[in-house]
């Protein structure tokens, strides 16, 4: 259960800091896919936590 706290922390932290992440639309040199990379990283973390939960429960 404690691992969900990590997810809570990251999601609410991301909620508060997300405007900064969204500000790079027109900034030259910033990779266009950066927001999607962050999003994908969060999904990967969620998959890892899900696997860990499965192991915990067995």
């Amino acid at each position: 259960m404690y691992v969900y706290r990590i997810m809570l922390f990251l999601v609410f932290g991301g909620y508060l800091l997300s405007p900064a992440l969204m500000s790079g639309w027109a900034v030259p040199g910033m990779a266009w896919y950066r927001p999607f990379l962050i999003w994908g990283g969060l999904i990967a973390l969620s998959i890892w936590l899900e696997q860990k939960r499965k192991l915990d429960e067995h």
Binding site: V11, G24, A26, W32, L42, I43
Partner: protein, 987 residues
């Protein structure tokens, strides 16, 4: 690129045909259940969130606010990333209590039909703009592609399509979730179409228009940069507010709630959807800016031509256009159909049935189904009318925002359901009314009346006056809603029912149901009581359904099981008619009885819940649970039988040792009353409870394995503050100890007999010696042959007495196993029989018995002739006494099994079965008092045992109902001088 109207209609018909085909395939079971119920299908079905405007409008939003368009996707993705702490608790409630909608959940939690009705009305008002938005987008696309018809009529055609789909996919059965499989597969297919279309467009943009990611990046940093600079940067506050709105929509929007929870998916599926849906949304959202940038690079992107539909300009390939059109159709139809189904269910449960409770219907299921179908058509028609009257005057983004802000008004209530047990219905209704009125007045009514938004800015928040209306109304309405909710809840009293429901809903609380008796005593009573409300057939079906769900027998009568059955019936009725009506019916027709004792916790049920929640416990709770499990294991695996009863006599524990001893599994009796336990336990335990002592010692209990001797100890559990009382009973099986004690008594009795026999032998021996001496003298004193023959016979008899006395002494000194045969020599069996018959015929009684010696001549046996004659005399004497006058007693012999058998057969009355097992014990006799000592057969047994032989008793004789045959078997001595192994008699 354009498509003819015929082509559009053909595509629409094809899509409808596909959906109907899916419904048919799933319903007929042609698609394997493992596919239909696969977590991926569930995850894809949640893609219903992406509606038509979400699909196409994202491109326009990307042009206007840059990455701000991602708020629509990230809000929901964030909610699903928090599935373990946010959505799984909701799923637990909806599955346990069969709650199919948000209104069901609120009505259940706040124990108020008014809350359910209010939530239904507000949701209905909120989603009308959303429905209109879907109709508007589809109409606009069709008009844009065909250009030959009015969008309004195309939109009406689309509504007809949605109505057909909704009726086919979601209104075939009265139970809301009965159609869910086909709906889920159909919506999942729609998600795949949306995903396919967006990835195709993204691929065309990235590799068709640009040459790859690097080329795109180069264009963005070069020629495309001025175009990107036109996109406005969404202020942080507005961005966060949008995220919050879409976060709330993940579980508050009726179509999302319906797809996520109404089907009752597994916890595992929901947890997997926690990453599957964010991934699906990522893949659908990613192509939006690519389409925009490709359009900008090609020069086709222009606000005048409508950026939202840029997707249709990216490729001239008919297949791509058709795919994108069908994807848009699937997005709009999915949202419209699922939202309509959810709203129809809510309206039925919380508007229609609350206003007109179901009377005793002949066909309740059909009546409910008919109502749902009417409501489905009404909702879709309402969406079209709203579009025609209001939607056409507003852009889709405005419609969507108004809808999502209205939906978000339930957010404080939902958070309270999960995390605040102190919330009550007054607070909920007050907060919801205040927030909803601010939303209605600020955005919804101005939308209807085509007036400017009316924002009521409270003092101190004047800075919101210059902000967009949607942003200000969202903040003000939600803040007022939450503050009113909290304030009123704190200031008003929460009812007991609400507290109980709050415990059931609270994320960390374990449900603690009370152990109350029901007026219905059996499952059959349930049917009878419920038939007054539902009709006989429906009541029987619902009770049978609930019994089937719980795996219980129709003959079930345990109070624990009946309480579970009541809960399941209520939950199933809730799925049929909503929680308010279901609760009313169950409370009225299956009431609890208020007994003299206060209700106590249902310990067994709480334990079963704790077992189920084990993986959710952390820290100290997990440690305590580990300790609880250890103590429970100690009790259940105790090698001594143990059972525990509550204060009301309900069985709470029946451990494994007791299950083995009794042959009754704990699961089949736990929850039963003590007096309803199977025989002989009800009587035995009742005797233990009523006994003034704390134990009952060695009670003979007839069990399947035979009579067992059980010792029962009881202890009353002292009741301290808040603790549970009851009685615990320990049951020890003392059968083995009882057998050992009996053996000890038997041995002691034999020892006493031995001592007695030694004394008797000593007292008899002396006079017999005297008689023998006198007979010797007599032989010298006379020559009379008759007297001499008599003297010889007296001499023989005194010698026999001496040998008997010697045997008694040997028996007394050597015990049962100590005697050894002496004077062993080959003896002729026929001669032994003749001698015995001669002696027995000297007796005065039995002159009318015919004796027959059938022993073959020449048959010999190794043994002590005198002692064997004694055996035969004893057996013949018993046979004579048992035989009626004129009967025949036969002595027969022969060789058998490496030895010699010798049998005495009579045709008397036989041996009483009651004493047969004790036949060879001393003093066992069937003769009248004074006529038998009971030592004869005991001596027979002792002598034959000394000869290492066996005694076999057969009574009655085969083919007769009387007669006795006592057969002796004596072994042949081995050549090496060893006798056979220690034999045992067939006693």
């Amino acid at each position: 690129m354009s498509i003819s109207l015929t082509g559009l209609l053909a595509l629409t018909a094809g899509y409808l045909g596909l959906m109907l085909l899916i419904a048919g395939v799933v319903e007929r079971g042609w698609l394997p259940a493992r596919v239909v119920h696969h977590p991926l299908v569930y995850g894809l079905s949640l893609g219903v969130y992406v509606n038509a405007w979400g699909l196409f409008g994202s491109v326009a939003l990307a042009a206007e606010i840059g990455y701000g368009y991602l708020a629509y996707f990230l809000g929901v993705a964030g909610a699903f990333l928090l599935a373990p702490v946010l959505l799984v608790p909701i799923l637990r409630l909806t599955r346990t209590y069969q709650l199919a909608s948000l209104a069901d959940l609120f009505a259940f939690r706040f124990r108020s039909r008014w809350v359910g009705t209010l939530v239904t009305v507000i949701t209905l008002l909120a989603v009308l703009p959303l429905l209109a938005q879907q109709v508007q987008v589809v109409g606009a696309i069709a008009y844009r592609l065909s250009g030959v018809a009015e969008p309004a009529w195309l939109a009406l055609a689309f509504c007809v399509l949605a109505a057909v789909m909704a009726l086919r996919l979601g209104a075939r059965h009265a139970h809301l979730n009965a159609d869910h499989d086909s709906l889920a597969v159909a919506v999942a297919t729609g998600s795949l179409l949306k995903l396919g279309a967006m990835l195709t467009l993204g691929g065309i943009a990235l590799y068709g228009v640009f040459t790859g990611p690097a080329d795109l990046q180069q264009w963005l940093d070069g020629p495309g940069q001025p175009l990107q600079a036109l996109a406005a940067r969404l202020p942080p506050g507005q961005w966060r507010t949008l995220l919050l709105l879409f976060f709330a929509a993940a579980f508050l929007a009726p179509h999302m709630f319906h797809m996520a929870f109404a089907r009752g998916p597994s916890r595992q599926a929901l947890l997997q959807a926690g990453w599957q849906l964010p991934l699906l949304l990522l893949l659908i959202a990613l192509p939006a800016p690519l389409i925009l940038w490709a359009g900008q690079a090609l020069g086709t992107a222009s606000p005048k031509t409508g950026l939202a539909y840029l997707a249709f300009t990216l490729s001239d390939t008919p297949g791509v256009i058709a795919l994108v059109f069908v994807a848009g159709l699937a997005a709009a139809a999915g949202t419209l159909v699922v939202t309509t189904l959810a709203l129809a269910g809510m309206a039925l449960n919380h508007l229609v049935l609350v206003a007109h409770p179901p009377a005793r219907q002949g066909n309740l299921y059909g009546w409910l189904l008919g109502l749902r179908r009417l409501l489905i058509i009404a909702v879709i028609l309402g969406g079209w009318v709203f579009y025609r009257l209001v939607g056409v005057h507003h852009d889709p983004t405005t419609l969507g925002l108004v809808a999502f802000i209205g939906i978000a008004q339930c957010l404080p209530g939902m958070l309270a359901v999960l995390y605040w047990p102190g919330a009550n219905r007054k607070g909920m209704v007050s907060g919801l009314l205040v927030g909803s009125l601010l939303w209605l007045g600020g955005l919804w009514l101005p939308l209807i009346a085509d007036l400017p938004p009316l924002v009521v800015v409270p003092p101190g928040l004047e800075l919101l006056e210059n902000e967009p209306a949607w942003y200000a109304v969202t903040l003000i309405s939600l803040a007022a809603n939450a503050l009113t909710f909290i304030g009123v809840s704190l200031m008003t009293r929460t009812s007991d029912g609400e507290r109980a429901a709050a415990e059931a809903c609270s994320i960390d609380a374990v449900i603690r149901p009370k152990r109350l008796p029901l007026s219905a005593r059996t499952a059959a009573d349930f049917k009878q009581h419920l038939s007054a409300a539902l009709g006989t057939d429906v009541a029987a079906r619902e009770v049978d359904h609930a019994l089937d769900d719980l795996g219980m027998s129709p003959q079930e009568s345990r109070p624990y099981a009946l309480r579970r059955l009541r809960g399941r019936v209520q939950a199933n009725l809730s799925g049929l008619m909503g929680p308010s009506v279901a609760r009313d019916i169950v409370d009225r027709f299956l009431p609890f009885q208020n007994g003299p004792q206060p209700a106590t916790d249902d310990v067994h049920y709480v334990e079963s819940l704790l077992e189920a929640y084990r993986s959710r416990l952390t820290g100290l709770a997990r440690e305590l649970d580990g300790l609880r499990r250890y103590h429970r294991r100690t009790l259940t695996q105790l090698p001594v039988g143990l059972c525990a009863f509550g204060d009301d006599g309900e069985l709470l524990m029946w451990n494994e040792a007791l299950a083995r001893l009794s042959g009754i599994e704990g699961d089949s009796v736990i929850g039963a009353r003590r007096e309803s336990l199977p025989a002989p336990w009800a009587e035995l335990l009742g005797r233990t409870f009523d006994h003034h002592d704390r134990f009952l010692y060695k009670q003979a209990v007839p069990l399947a394995a035979g009579t067992r001797y059980l010792t029962l100890h009881k202890a009353d559990l002292d009741v301290a503050d808040g603790e549970r009382g009851g009685t615990v009973v320990l049951i020890e099986d003392h059968s083995d100890m009882k057998w050992l004690e009996d053996e000890l008594v038997h041995a002691e009795r034999l020892a006493s007999i031995g001592r007695l026999a030694a004394g008797v032998a000593h007292e008899i021996g002396n006079p017999v010696t005297g008689i023998s001496s006198l007979v010797q003298n007599l032989r010298y004193d006379t020559d009379d042959p008759l007297v001499l023959e008599t003297a010889d016979q007296i001499q023989q008899l005194t010698e026999r007495i001496s040998r008997i006395v010697g045997s008694l002494v040997s028996f007394a000194h050597g015990g049962r196993h100590g005697g050894q045969a002496t004077g062993m020599a080959p003896c002729d069996v026929r001669e032994l029989a003749d001698e015995a018959l001669h002696l027995i015929q000297l007796a005065r009684s039995g002159e009318d018995i015919v004796y027959c010696n059938d022993c073959p001549a020449g048959l010999t046996v190794q043994g002590d002739a005198q002692r064997l004659v004694q055996v035969l005399v004893n057996l013949l004497g018993n046979a004579r006494d048992a035989s009626p006058p004129g009967a025949t007693v036969v002595v027969e012999a022969g060789a058998r099994d490496g030895g010699v058998y010798l049998a005495v057969v009579d045709t008397g009355g036989g041996i009483d079965p009651a004493i047969r097992d004790h036949l060879f014990e001393p003093f066992t006799t069937t003769k009248p008092p004074g006529e038998g000592t009971g030592l004869g057969l005991s001596l027979v047994y002792s002598i034959i045992r000394d000869h290492r032989g066996q005694v076999h008793v057969e009574s009655p004789l085969p083919d007769l109902d009387h007669g006795t045959r006592i057969a002796l078997w004596l072994p042949e001595p081995h050549q090496d001088g060893r006798d056979t192994d220690d034999p045992d008699s067939d006693r």
